[in-house]
Symmetry: D2
Subunit: 298 residues, 4 copies
């Protein structure tokens, strides 16, 4: 299995009573399965995985698998602070039928998060995992960086299939590409650097933006594969403002609000996260409209 292509890191919708909205999740996924997305990531950062309990996580995966057909990839986030809990979560996700797991770096004890510790952690998880493992570096949330040295070493493990790098450090992305085998997937996670990430050789991306405008994101990737740089640049420039709003500026709350705006089920983030302020919702509406992503009114 090659974990390349375009993925949406989908949010987890909640009901008014702050419980998992399984119907909403299923409806969203049915919509996304009608787009050019190559797959989805459930229970990633945008899935508020850190705010879900194990039962909710299991149900979110089960619902997702019931909607995502075998031709599309279902990836589930299973990172935990301890190696044992990461392994347990990985095994449960695999048993529920996911195609791969996305394992966020442990990060709490920052000074102790050395290359050696990362390599041991991921090696143990990959050894135990029934499905391929994607490394997951998201320093903006974890405060630690998975360095190229660790990635190079881990890429030799037969069950480590790739990495999702959420940051915008394109030089580091290029180093990941240069220091890993060609079939090791390097997936970009920042919309602001989608084009340059593809330019340095990333094999795909996991973008919140792709949950909103999957066709345009897919088109940008096609343009880059066709070396149509000028056209890709124009498209990147059109996508950048919305990418910023659901990325660094507004995060999960903004992504959920945008998903509501396009007619799917976003809903409120789980407290203590707050919904975005009205001014941000207005800005989202403007950018979605500019990209033709708002539903047609009767």
């Amino acid at each position: 299995m090659r974990l390349s292509g375009l993925f949406a890191p989908i949010p987890t919708p909640f009901t008014e009573r702050d419980t998992l909205d399984e119907a909403g999740l299923a409806r969203n996924l049915a919509h996304w399965m009608a787009t050019p997305l190559d797959g989805v990531v459930v229970l990633g950062s945008n899935g508020e995985s850190v705010a879900l309990d194990d039962d909710e996580a299991d149900r979110a995966i089960a619902v997702s698998r019931s909607v995502v057909p075998s031709g599309r990839l279902l990836v589930a986030g299973t990172g935990r602070e301890s190696t044992r809990e990461a392994i347990q979560a990985t095994r449960r996700a695999a048993a529920a039928g996911v195609d791969a797991v996305l394992v966020r770096t442990p990060s709490f004890f920052k000074p102790q998060m050395t290359t050696e510790v990362f390599v041991r952690h991921y090696t143990a998880v990959a050894d135990a995992s029934p499905v391929p493992v994607l490394l997951y570096n998201v320093a903006m949330f974890t405060g630690v960086n998975l360095p190229p040295d660790a990635v190079e070493r881990l890429a030799t493990h037969p069950n480590v299939a790739g990495i999702k790098e959420s940051g915008g450090d394109v030089a580091q992305l290029a180093e990941f590409v240069a220091r890993t085998p060609p079939d090791f997937a390097v997936l970009a996670g920042s919309a602001s650097t989608f084009l340059p990430a593809l330019a340095v050789g990333c094999s795909g991306a996991v973008l919140a933006l792709a949950a909103l405008v999957p066709g345009l994101c897919s088109h940008l990737r096609s343009l880059m594969q066709g070396e149509r740089l000028e056209d890709a640049r124009s498209l990147q420039r059109r996508l950048a403002p919305l990418g910023r709003l659901v990325g660094a500026t507004g995060g999960v709350p903004a992504l959920k609000a945008a998903i509501d705006l396009i007619g799917l089920t976003g809903g409120r983030p789980r407290p203590p996260l707050l919904p975005p302020p009205p001014s941000l919702v207005d800005a989202l509406r403007v950018e979605l409209a500019a990209l033709g992503a708002l539903p047609v009114r009767a």
Copy 2:
């Protein structure tokens, strides 16, 4: 209840098979109850709470309560990323008899962790908690800071009893003291700034160092209460090297190794954390010996 005084943030010992070592924990606590400590914090950062599952957490609290008498304070860490899980953990700890809870800031979605979000989170937890709540700011691990504005507002809540500030920013500690009522406990968490934290008015401390040399830490506090600054400074200087080793330098792995060295049950940290290198263990031995904390050999 006034949450002032000297507390040890105790580690959670594990057996060789990486399970909770209840006997070791009980034995350690029995030792600490024979020292001048005013209480202990179980399941704090040094308790590796982020690596424990709920069942382990419940058992660690139960064991602690069975050893810590009512005259000493038992505080349990119950911070979680979501408000609902923080409340659930708090209620479970209260039901198990803890005197107070220590609630680490949520932190994952860093750009969204505003004063407003912190105030809502802690207000909801304090509203729901049967026992007093201590705020817990530990930016070195969480990557977010609980700002003085938030602390000032939260200090007006009748069930928010104080704050543990783990960082070494003494100006911020002073601001916490200045902007909260006199009965609001401001507890210092960094051995390197123990003396200056007391100098600016902190009412106590939660120090890893206090698990190793509780008598000396208690003495330093007494000296400061007696305004014997010169003597306190000499003692602070003697304590600083060991404080650094079990703090910024070595963290939990070093604290556990030091606890082994003084004849208690430290044990290995839970993977992916690694035991400290031999050179660090040697340094710990030297500093513990210099402070008279090593057990007498036959």
Copy 3:
């Protein structure tokens, strides 16, 4: 010569035409010489030394020396990026009669600013300087830190008399004190941590605040020398708000505005620095009034 005591890092006043206001400078100094200040630092960060040319620097020193009597210490900032220019500036200042020089770390090429580089730089300057040298660590402006290792090594040089540490890292201040001989002056530079800095053994301070309320700053130091901690704490708390305004919040522009408010010659900062906004001037007025530092109106 012992470089202990209380110093004001004085601003450099400019005329309306942005030239050095020698008369204003002389008048300010005459005022400060009638206070308990042990000396002044001319051409420090607050003196906008980075915005002065060599001729202006020479004249500012000459004016200062003409007003500051031999019983008070006149220290001049002579730090430069290159060792050769730092030596030249130091020799010129010494020839003009300063008692000591304050040499800011070189800092432009940050990754190259190692302990080895710092030790070589300061050793060369101290070897060449006719007057005692004070190290000057001001990471908030330079972006580099002079580490305790370097300070410990440099403190053995017979012509390195001490260090001014502008930051609020009290643990580092304590380490400087612990790792240098008793006659090595460790001077604190942050008003927010004035009390705790003295508590850990600093022998004095160089405080912008001392240009505004020298008597109160001197009194706080006396209280700490007398181990009257409780009283010192009350005073520190009174001084902290003004200290913040002329420190982290408002910097040189705020200090100059405050100096105008107390009836001396502050004037505008040199462009591109802008004068503080009116709201900040109002806040300064409130705090100065609260400390009794505003001139009596007729």
Copy 4:
């Protein structure tokens, strides 16, 4: 004049007695004028401008102008902390015949370096400058960032011709391109992100690497202009290791050593900078050899 193309930020060679090596500088420039470089930047960061006095700066410009023909662009760094000194340096450089000036952001008083301050500073310099002004953002050395808001505003000034951005934040580079007119030059300054910078629309680059392998750097730019992304990526990958060595890893000392290795006059950096360690020189030799940049031995 369009300031696009490939530029080398040339070092300033010193003699054994640490004086300006005018002959060495002229010889180097004669070599570079026989390469595809579109121009050179003298007195930039790599030119150790912060360590030169005004006389040395003037002479370095004069020598450069005497060698660089009118068909090639000569750009001189004239940034200073104060607006008045930046204007003076700019006028002197213009009088000496440079085609444009590169003006580093003021940066010392970091908290005061707001968009408003930057806009005023650069507007005043551009108003006064007889030649076009390039903004210069080099946060790795200055510790401040020139934000897109400021750049967008300054790009409307008829005498602000472009910006050199030395950092590797490709998203910011893309924002500079998107928010400025097409004839505003956005020049990349980091070899590690040369390709992605061109991919997002930069019109050229100022690269230390271009002083060593100008032909290869020029070729990479041609490939990108021809939308030959795959080939460009291969070349970028070959260039990256050397780029890192003379960039983040080794800085000016490494660049000077590399210039010596290719048979030109690099020489020692000015103290306190130290020459690179032998291991780094060896690494430079290996990478230069791999790129065919070492001179042929007899």
